[in-house]
């Protein structure tokens, strides 16, 4: 579905990504794990068209290298950015509507709004509330709901567990699994390697701008190196 080939990104003189190649197949959950500064977020930003890059990105057979972020959203890739980045002074409903910004089918938007509220009942209870007044977990749900409103084929999730309590992290991950089961492919960036590897079909490990390891979730969970470096022994 998504093929990233020899992708490089420079921030000034610093090279954040060094010829990274990643593949995501339809229906999968693929996790990208690695320490701070490994380049995980940069990779997602490059796929979303938010940073300039060299190399090729193919989505459903079409090259996205020259496409801008709008064309990429329209093609079916939506990102849930790191730190949620909801619109704090807009209501929950308005935030969700922003997610459907590029869509013109009013009936479909309404239906998906219902679907999002079914999935996140807590958002429905607070639909008129300003998004900035929601708790961290609710904001994460809102960010995910907003992304789902774009009807993505591929959902990019950047650190969905950041700053959440362990219980909420569990809830968010079970939501990710259920979104995936209903047909949305997921590319997940996580620091919480243990949780990510549990739900991922496959995973890539990044270090200083490079992919250093890849394999299925189970393989990587079992690997001694990974245990030492990311899972705490």
């Amino acid at each position: 579905m998504l093929i990233v080939k020899d992708l490089s990104v420079h921030y000034g003189v610093i090279q954040a990504l060094k010829q990274v190649s990643v593949e995501v197949h339809e229906g999968e959950i693929v996790a990208l794990i690695g320490a701070n500064g490994a380049g995980k977020t940069t990779l997602l930003h490059a796929i979303s068209g938010l940073v300039k890059h060299e190399g090729d990105i193919l989505f459903l057979g079409n090259s996205l290298s020259k496409a801008d972020s709008r064309a990429i959203v329209a093609a079916g890739i939506t990102q849930v950015p790191e730190g949620r980045r909801i619109f704090p002074d807009m209501s929950v409903t308005e935030n969700l509507l922003m997610g459907a910004y590029l869509r013109k089918d009013k009936a479909g938007i309404e239906e998906d709004m219902k679907m999002v509220f079914e999935r996140f009942p807590r958002l429905q209870e607070r639909k008129k509330q300003l998004a900035g007044t929601l708790s961290g977990g609710e904001q994460q749900m809102l960010a995910m709901g907003r992304a789902l409103m774009a009807k993505p084929k591929l959902l990019l999730l950047d650190e969905p567990s950041m700053g959440l309590s362990p219980l909420l992290v569990k809830e968010i991950f079970s939501i990710i699994t259920s979104i995936n089961e209903q047909g949305t492919t997921v590319l997940l960036v996580e620091q919480n390697a243990r949780m990510a590897l549990q739900i991922a079909d496959r995973a890539y490990v990044m270090e200083t701008g490079k992919i250093v390891l890849s394999g299925t979730g189970e393989e990587l969970s079992a690997s001694e190196d990974i245990k030492k470096a990311y899972l705490g022994g």
Binding site: L50, S69, R70, Q79, R85, I86, P88, D89, M98, A150
Partner: protein, 320 residues
């Protein structure tokens, strides 16, 4: 929900008609004399300026310090039109249209390079552009240079009143439309907006151009109402005066801009008699407001009839 919105709109319409009628009665009864009428017109023009800048700063979140540049375009379009081509009310209308077209064009030229900048950088760039526009007008022949233009009075307070109403309706409706929501999302979080597929540059330009056009209307009305226009009336300090109105009322709040424009204009009029301490008192008033209401009088909230009703109900509940 929809019915309630309609009710709200009807109440606003009622308020507009009522205030128009009351002002008419007060003027014909002589309670509002010519001095107060001038104040009234100043308030109207300030309101238009404030809401036009509010569209750029409050709704779209782009900091502009060159708003006087668009006001001067409107003022001189109208001034030159009245002086050299068509006089009277038709001249004012043509002047307004010419001003809007020119300022839209200039705003586009300014916006395309500068709106890539953010925050302080954008403020400095727009400040520079505002001054450039003024200097160009200062050096043109048709504008009579530094001496400025002396004009016949062609704008009545009726025109200003309805201009305020029309400009407000345009800005409010824009703010509530899907385009307006896109502008607000740019203000709230540019990266997230971009990630939703919003063309952030396009919306910044749209808001900037629309704001510039409305500011030029205020400039044109000013020229027609106050006899004299000179380039040095529209320096960057005028831009800052407009900015003060927006910040004072609350960035993003249209009703806040109304209140602040009215209060600041009144304050200025009252203080005119004490010219030596005027700026001190004015400055102090601003400091006090910013200390006690750092996000402006209304913040991002709007005064609404439904909100008023809620407050009244609460008050009743407390009384019982």
């Amino acid at each position: 929900m929809k019915n309630w919105m309609k009710k709200e709109n009807l109440l606003w319409l009622g308020l507009i008609v009522l205030s128009y009628a009351v002002l008419n009665i007060l003027i014909s009864a002589g309670i509002i004399n010519n001095v107060y009428k001038t104040v009234l017109m100043t308030i109207g023009i300030n309101i238009i300026l404030a809401i036009s800048l509010n569209l750029i700063i409050g709704i779209t979140g782009q900091f502009s310090l060159g708003h006087a540049g668009f006001m001067i375009i409107g003022a001189y379009s109208c001034g030159v039109m009245l002086k050299s081509f068509v006089s009277g009310v038709p001249g004012v209308f043509l002047g307004i249209i010419a001003g809007m077209v020119i300022s839209a064009f200039v705003a586009l030229v300014v916006a395309i390079p500068t709106l890539r900048l953010r925050g302080d950088y954008l403020a400095i760039a727009t400040l520079g552009f505002g001054e450039i526009i003024r200097i160009v007008i200062l050096n043109m022949k048709i504008t009579n240079g530094a001496a400025g233009l002396i004009l016949p009075k062609a704008v009545s307070w009726h025109m200003i009143f309805w201009a305020v109403v029309i400009c407000t309706i345009v800005v409010v409706n824009f703010g509530r439309s899907a385009h307006g929501r896109a502008c607000i999302s740019v203000r709230e979080d540019e990266i997230a907006a971009e990630a939703m597929g919003i063309n952030t540059t396009q919306y910044k330009i749209l808001a900037f151009v629309l704001g510039a056009m409305i500011a030029s209307v205020a400039g044109a009305l000013y020229a027609g109402a106050f006899y004299v226009i000179k380039p040095d009336m529209f320096t960057y300090s005028k831009s800052i005066d407009i900015l003060v109105l927006v910040v004072f009322g609350g960035m993003g709040s249209i009703t806040g801009s109304f209140i602040s424009s009215t209060l600041v204009s009144l304050l200025n009029t009252v203080l005119q008699q004490f010219s030596s301490v005027r700026m001190i008192v004015y400055g102090l008033a601003l400091v006090v407001i910013m200390v006690f209401r750092p996000s402006g009088l209304l913040g991002r909230k709007e005064l609404t009839f439904s909100g008023l009703l809620k407050v009244l109900k609460k008050g009743k509940g407390a009384a019982q």
